[in-house]
Subunit: 561 residues, 2 copies
């Protein structure tokens, strides 16, 4: 959408968003009365007195803030009589789509030496500003890119204009018209190191409040560096409480752009393999998977539950002849776990697939999908990986082709050889999983592997028993850097055996009737698994808390923002 831009002639911009039309506090606080329709007035009349009082108080508060915010504009007003540059700067009126100027904006990442001497319009945030005599230096930021800009008293800018620029609050959004100039010495602190902008006009699009709840520079500082030099870093709760600002950091921008890539690579790989995307319901009538750790929803005159996984539904799709399916969506766990890797709501990347004769066909499909994701990230998101590494250093993620597959008994043997005492049919504890990850890395040099053939007793009722040894099962987990990211299995596709296994697990058959009935009218053998998106992003990048890879994380203690 961004056209390469040289000098553009466009209709004078002033009439539509005039800096002359000074923005007064009164104007910003309330809409003209004509703006209130009769319907709205009736609605308002119906409110209680108490609410009205509260509103008045709020409005007063808002008015005060507005007054403060309009200070910039007012300052300008008092001095404009003798200001030759008065039309070159100011605060735009609120952008309500008043007009459609024929003006292209150049992106900060496009500001390179081949644009030298060009006059461009740029919209960006004021990352920092620093007045120095008759000059003011700004760093203008746009996502992960930034550029130095300069406004100096002279032909194009007055003393008042430079003062105005110096007073703009950090994080405000501005439109600047500027000439791109090559610089002799690289500007190390900016992403655009070879040019700077010489500002000719500057208008504030949106003002930030003067006190920011956190400083972006603090938020990207590596923790070690902060400790050593006594400089500030930002703790996790402050970050999450002010997520909108924390997400603006180069690190956050990189994390979530890479996460968007994980989803895309997951779907593209599976689509190429002939999978169909499905959408499964999240509100379900029965807590199907045993009944524990499930959120209850009021559903009209009855109650319902939030799905702990789409598993039962994706299996029904296999019984409905979709053959290979995937879905990407939220899953809900009412677990009171306050750990670095548990969320009460996370994004599941789910796969289910009919196979011909052996569930290893499905393992192969899943591991290949993971490998395609790893390769895609490595090849297309190197900038993002490097950006995150600056704040959170980690080793590059290693994987093998084909993926390493170990059996559970082999893992137990490995752990025992490292001094761990555990029973044959005992599940792996989290510390043992991590230790195993280290042992596997040492022995096989991979951060990704499959652990196959878990004990039947530690898996859900719908897991297919191993045909050779009924103490084990056709089930598997996958691990990244020693932490589980996927759990999966061949499923029981026979209604009778499924009934028996459900009874075994004391599950109320009435509640899973529709599920069991799905297997009564011919069901192909099938297997699948569910991947936790946030964990994949966290572990690929070598991060240490899943809240860093969830935009608005939910845990037992956090429901906002």
């Amino acid at each position: 959408m961004q056209k390469p831009l040289t000098l553009i002639s466009y209709p004078p911009f002033v009439p539509m968003m005039p800096c002359l039309e000074k923005v007064s506090a009164e104007k910003r606080v309330s809409l003209p009365l004509s703006c209130r329709s009769s319907a709205e007035e009736e609605q308002q009349a119906a409110q209680s007195k108490k609410a009205l009082k509260k509103q008045q108080k709020e409005a007063e508060k808002a008015a005060k803030k507005a007054e403060k915010q309009a200070k910039l504009a007012t300052d300008q007003q008092t001095t404009e009589e003798d200001d030759f540059a008065q039309d070159r700067y100011g605060v735009y009126a609120l952008m309500q789509s008043q007009e459609k100027p024929d003006r292209s904006l150049v992106r900060v990442c496009e500001l390179t030496p081949d644009r030298a001497e060009q006059t461009v319009w740029v919209r960006a945030r004021v990352h920092t500003s620093r007045a120095k005599g008759k000059q003011c230096f700004l760093v203008l930021r746009q996502q992960q890119w930034n550029v130095q800009a300069l406004v100096a008293v002279g032909e194009k800018a007055s003393k008042q204009m430079v003062k105005f620029c110096a007073n703009i609050t950090k994080e405000s959004i501005v439109d600047v018209e500027a000439v791109v100039q090559k610089v002799e010495q690289k500007i190390e602190s900016c992403s655009q190191q070879d040019v700077e902008l010489h500002i000719q006009k500057l208008f504030v699009v949106s003002q930030a409040e003067p006190r920011l709840p956190l400083q972006l520079d603090d938020a990207v500082r590596p923790e070690v560096e902060g400790d050593e030099e006594g400089r500030a870093t930002v703790n996790q709760d402050t970050r999450l409480d002010n997520r909108v600002i924390d997400l603006r950091t180069t690190t956050s921008q990189a994390i979530f752009r890479l996460q968007s890539g994980v989803c895309q690579l997951f779907r593209d790989t599976l689509t190429k393999k002939g999978f169909v995307e499905i959408q499964t319901p999240k509100i379900i009538s029965a807590a199907s998977e045993g009944g524990a750790n499930v959120f209850t929803v009021s559903y009209f005159k009855t109650s319902a539950y939030l799905a702990q996984s789409p598993q039962l539904y994706k299996q029904m799709c296999i019984c409905a002849d979709f053959d290979k399916v995937f879905c990407v969506g939220p899953v809900f766990r009412a677990e009171d776990s306050n750990t670095h890797r548990h969320l009460t709501e996370f994004v599941g990347l789910d796969i289910e697939m009919a196979f011909n004769y052996h569930y290893h066909e499905v393992i192969d499909s899943i591991t290949d999908t993971m490998v395609q994701i790893f390769k895609g990230l490595r090849d297309n998101f190197q900038t993002e990986i490097q950006t995150v590494c600056k704040q959170y250093p980690s080793e590059p993620f290693k994987f093998l082709e084909p993926t390493l597959r170990l059996e559970f008994t082999e893992a137990v043997a490995l752990l025992r050889s490292a001094g761990v005492e555990m029973g044959d049919e005992e599940d792996l504890s989290t510390p043992n999983e991590k230790l195993l990850g280290r042992l596997v890395k040492e022995k096989y040099d991979t951060d990704f592997y499959v652990l196959d053939k878990y004990p039947l007793a530690v898996r859900p009722f719908y897991t297919m028993p191993d045909p050779q040894n009924p103490k084990y099962s056709n089930s598997y987990d996958m691990f990244m850097r020693g932490e589980e990211i996927l759990s999966g299995a061949q499923r029981v596709h026979d209604a009778q055996l499924l009934t028996e296994r459900a009874l075994h697990h004391s599950i109320d058959l009435e509640k899973i009737k529709a599920y069991i009935d799905s297997f009564r009218y011919g069901a192909p053998p099938h297997a699948g698994g569910g991947i936790g998106l946030e964990r994949v992003t966290m572990l690929y990048l070598g991060l240490h808390n899943v809240r860093q890879t969830s935009m608005f994380p939910r845990d037992p203690k956090r429901l906002t923002p």
Copy 2:
């Protein structure tokens, strides 16, 4: 994954899933005791007597069914002494991934005349079977494809084998080894019209119960045809109660493959435009959009709500510098609306985008995305469209480039000229929307258009007022075949105005504090919209009920399956 296959030599299959190892009722009913771990036994011991009694009853019931189902196998057992073909047919033992035979399966759609005289293995469902003297004709079905197959008494098949084949229940899944034969007369009733399969071996992979809750042939019959000829069709509740079978029909397969395509086209188009995919939380702390029609969730010791849209979060992402974002996920509406187009849970395709000067930049992005979807469906899903048309005839979907945009006042004028009486600031009723769709189609020959500039009073509090006429707003809906599929607007990006508008709508400011605060630290002007996936699929295909385009629909009266 499917290799072209001629005669394959593979290790004899009998030992691994032997038809000789006859499947007896006892064997199918319960797992060997060794299969039960001590952990499981303890669990079972802990159950109450009452539960155990119930379980016994269930187990008896299961045993009876199993006995019935094993009849096929038993029938064979009694006659096998004098059966030369006894190794050529039977019921496989439950597929537990016993072995990995080196056998490729050919897909039904790959059965074409260039495979004539080849021996192939095919796995498919028995769609119909019809014995006729010493022969048995089967139609074998795989998703939307089917092929005729024949087993005849002769060198390769015994009398008993033909009888066995004739007794296989519909919808059972079978493996057949067969020779592909060209036919002289096209087989009109099958998708593979030029060949048939001459069966040499047949094994049942998964048996269907003899009584199906609905017949697939009835489920794809056009309603008019059913009425005229007195033949059965299937009503909606029967379909939805037995969705796993209903989803197997050619019509359902086509609908949901096309829907998968809608999602893919939506994402691919936006990714190309530089949008980032985001994941927003569904459990939220406050019913942000006014508080009506929201589901309540128990959240540990407090309560929470299910998000009615990701709107507030996608806006926060804009304030967090993601610039252009989209998300695909469930949205929840606790509306007690029992109409053809309302669901309590549906899939939202959501867009939010910062713009430079005018929200029409966003309208243009959205309409172009819709046009790319329509073109992609037209060009890549013609088979699916034709398949659905056979059962539910409709006119091809028409659209213009660029997309038609009308203003609300123009729509009111059009409706008034057609005799409708309505006020200037009145919202459109559903019948008026449909009428308007017909008037627009007549006048402009398009099934897709944008209605811009709705009255401010009928839109949510965060809608930006029109700068020229404060009775109107910078908001829009988009329509397909006269029904709304998207609602969107420029949002208020100024905390003060937003506060005022919220108070105006009597919204508790405390509850949307995080939302309003997002705009305090510099916010770009932005707009967006939310699209209902199921409605897009329904209206593109000219269907008449949104339950047809939701795999497992949720409405006030339906929570299962």
